[in-house]
Subunit: 341 residues, 4 copies
């Protein structure tokens, strides 16, 4: 049975594998200074309408978050995040390991609002407290919700008012930008954030996150930060080759749309079967509440998916994730099997 555990259960999109194979024996210099990286960066700058932006390619998400955040912050400065934020919950204290506190605000839908930011700033006013200096958001959020352009503009205005940087973690950005109700573009992100990432790992690459720096502050020495944290890939070309393929021929968005289409199909099918989704998600992560008995039956059938949280003695909220690789037939079969539960 198909695994809906996550969006990195397979290798890479066939076009990415092809690109890696085709270039395998070509010699390049190392550490991301090759032409593939330059071309991929140019493609990204072009699609972001951000000719002045710096683009760097890193391997993974936690690595990227700790480096970007640390590259902006002074020792005594902290980053603000939703309590559900990846940097707060699922990175084993990676940000703190670089010396920075993550100050959190409770967020029912995984999104950060100006009100939350203002409350954290208002509570940290003297040298006895950390100095809030950056807002971390993720799009899609960890629970599948997405930001609208108006929401992002409001956050930008709030950050400008309070002297904060705005950083957007785009690990699932393709899903976010192609989701129902999305009105954001790559160019919007480049215009409204100080830095953001375009996630590859969860969108068809073997691995890879592109960092787009629009704020000048960390530009000059970002590669020093990368190297110091062990994030400079010797064969950096691998990232350039993959991102060049991903950002060409609409592949980035095509992959996002494919994942979303299957997720929405799954969501709507489950809704018809009477299952509830406590948080409305238009993206490739869906969180239905299932009776524990149903969960056991699906697992017996060989389905894989993750548990999110216990709802009550007999119900659990679980997570189904779709990706570039999810066949529509797998979702159809799941719905059929669910109907028979």
């Amino acid at each position: 049975m198909y695994s809906f555990r996550n969006d990195y259960s397979e290798g890479a999109h066939p076009k990415v594998i092809e690109a890696l194979t085709a270039t395998n024996l070509i010699q390049t210099c190392g550490y991301g200074l090759d032409d593939y990286c330059k071309e991929a960066a140019d493609l990204i700058r072009h699609q972001c309408a951000a000719p002045q932006a710096d683009v760097h390619f890193l391997v993974g998400g936690t690595q990227t978050n700790l480096i970007v955040i640390n590259s902006f912050l002074e020792s005594y400065e902290c980053v603000i995040a939703a309590h559900t934020g990846h940097v707060n919950v699922h990175e084993t204290g990676a940000i703190e390991a670089t010396g920075h506190k993550v100050c959190t605000a409770y967020s029912p839908d995984g999104k950060v609002t100006p009100q939350m930011v203002e409350a954290v700033v208002a509570a940290n006013t003297t040298e006895h407290m950390v100095l809030p200096r950056m807002v971390y958001i993720s799009d899609t959020t960890e629970i599948g919700t997405i930001y609208t352009k108006a929401e992002l503009q409001a956050l930008r205005a709030c950050c400008d008012k309070l002297g904060l940087y705005l950083y957007l973690d785009g690990a699932r950005l393709a899903s976010a930008l192609t989701a129902e109700g999305s009105d954001l573009t790559l160019a919007d992100l480049a215009a409204l954030t100080d830095a953001f990432t375009i996630g590859g790992t969860k969108n068809g690459l073997l691995f890879g996150e592109a960092v787009i720096l629009t704020n000048d502050l960390p530009k000059a020495h970002f590669r020093w930060h990368m190297k110091q944290r062990g994030a400079m890939l010797a064969k950096g070309r691998l990232l350039g080759i993959q991102f060049k393929a991903l950002m060409s021929d609409d592949l980035f968005f095509e992959v996002g749309r494919h994942a979303n289409a299957n997720a929405v199909y799954l969501r709507d099918g489950m809704t018809e079967l009477g299952y509830d989704f406590p948080t409305a998600s238009p993206s490739n992560q869906q969180f239905p509440v299932l009776p524990n008995s149903v969960i056991l039956k699906l697992q017996d059938l060989g389905y894989a998916f993750e548990t999110d949280h216990v709802v009550d003695d007999t119900h659990t909220c679980v997570r189904f994730v779709t990706s570039w690789a999810t066949p529509k037939a797998a979702v159809e079969q799941l719905l059929k099997d669910l109907a028979a539960c």
Copy 2:
């Protein structure tokens, strides 16, 4: 013209690419908990004759060094290295960024001796100084030399006497173990060190370092260390698949032998042409002294290689590196071109 700049100028050995392609659409769980990683770890344990060892797969060398070293050391403890050691010179202070001092000893041949270790320990005796607790060595060293079994046994005895851990960075281990004069085996390394690595990046993989932990200390929570430093690859399977291919059918050693054969051919040919090698290297890095005029001619011909250090006003010591991908014909052509200089 061929680039002798390093041993990571190409992608991966064809067998590795094949393995990645063949498994691309198979679903596995993430973060290195898949069966490919298990099989690769079992192969390594078997070849190391170390059934109790823990094996982890990481992406790059600096990342691996900072995690392994930090997983052994308390805050106030330091690691001892040759002044030429990679952790001292070429990792942008990655070890210090985890809070640990690198205490160095001057080493003319890049190797650490018991005498050097004893001197550092003797100089750090109270709580006003860092506490030496680990010895870092690399094999091959950064200047191409290799350790003999007797040398490694002497270091082990010294470490036992002084209560130190011994860690061997095997970024170029295949070249070391298959070099002229080598009498070390993977099993020797597992028996004589507390931790060592088997480098993949410089030996035919796209990327990847295997960490072999024989000392129990860091075993229980090594994955926490990995995740905190951003070193847990989401599609960890990529490391398992590659290392499974590398450790099967003698490929690891075959690749090392191929690189060494070409390096020795290059060295002997240059020696015949009258060029000097200040440090005798039996491995895949060769450091001849060339007249600057010759260097310019080679560069004009399109050869790529790195400068190591200035010898005098008219001579420079340079580095030529061979790999699994170096064709013998490329070396022959180089020697021909050199002879014509």
Copy 3:
């Protein structure tokens, strides 16, 4: 007018000044290895009924917290605290600057309960999250409440069950142990915690915190931790001399009782005048809610005290602190002035 801003507005208790003056020209060795430190440590061990405990003397509270916590924790481990905990709010991210996350639980009365601890542990279960390993509590808490013996025993049992260390920050310990309703002794603290501190700064010394380590783990190299963080006082004798004076002739408790008596007198007087105390405090910090108009009048009269939080548009919760130096007459005058407001 008297300042009720804090319990460190004056210098030191006269007996402490005398001790410093009397010993001023005696030569001792440095760094806390002198006889005064030994005698003070012996006095503390004796009063704690903990002959095996290690005792160290440090200068300040934040310094002490960051060193003690880091001396117990591995890189990936975190400390649990109340959301009001000093280490979470008022140390400018000092714990995070040593690399450790502070995981918090919401606590209405500033105390940590086993339920809170269990909830944090239950939420951090894999290598993608930090590993909870220590509970931080303060007694008195930051809002003046104190722990009972039963509460501390319950926390100890919880920590034992979950494999956690228990650390008690005793910056205001004298006030806690001598407060109404306290049934804890120094010996109880030594028996029930892995480490705790006896605060001097807020209890009549010029400065100084004594750390009592009952758990063996950090004993061997605690002085390395101290030195590395800049916490080893050259003239360590100053700490020994002061703590020797403080722990002799009941001075430690006498000072606590004096501060508490004035605080309770102030509290009861204000209560009679109709003012409300949202959190009941038996110790030397009192948090009444005052009309803003009254606050302004008191400030006009020259009284100093800190604002805690806004209650509504016309009321603010403020903090009055008493100490060894607070004259009863100053409290009487304050109550008289308040009555006239």
Copy 4:
């Protein structure tokens, strides 16, 4: 017998004790925001002819060094020091614990020269290496030598050329500025460095280092750095009161002259007795070579002093230190006893 072990064997200069006693019961606000600190800072700014400088008061030297250095450096930047530098040898890796590498140059006399600085900078040129960004010097040096104005000007010019900050650790600055051959003033230091310290601990205070920041970079948030590292004294007044006394009525220099006079008397007397001083020191630390038999005899007589290094099988280089508290009679007695050895 008198202890020549160090210059912090006694408490404080009587004038300092008097000042602390006289102000003991006066209430002030905490954390160095009191009037005594303001007055002391003004005195220092005046004597430094540096009205724009920021002055902060910290407790100890290692604490001060780690905070000042970290307040100037980005994560990937390093500080250059002599191999004998306090930050390299005697601070238990305190600088590395804040994440920064200390790059050293071998210095026979403990001083850093422009040539040394240039060599370190020349060796660290890419993102694979740390970026040198500050030069750390101490005056007096750890082996008693002092900088001339010409030397400091040359270092300043070198730092300007290379874009480096210059930081001078003045733990023994009073001795340096009043030594034979010194032509430097406090105003020179303020003009030629980006930051320097005026040491109190080794010059008659109970404790305390004044940091003078002339470079604007760390000014705005230096107190955040202090608090985060546990270096903000609650009763900060103690530092203000002491430094006010020290910087009044020429006491700072008087104390330095007293210590130096006794040191030079000791040095000249020992020279007459035929003992050798490998490094010429004009300051309050003297390093004679003594036969081991003589060392034993002195120790039997009750003299205390530290061993510096072994010279040969029968001779050791030792250290004698004088201070504000050293009576001339103690030196006379020592010379008499030596003559009788």
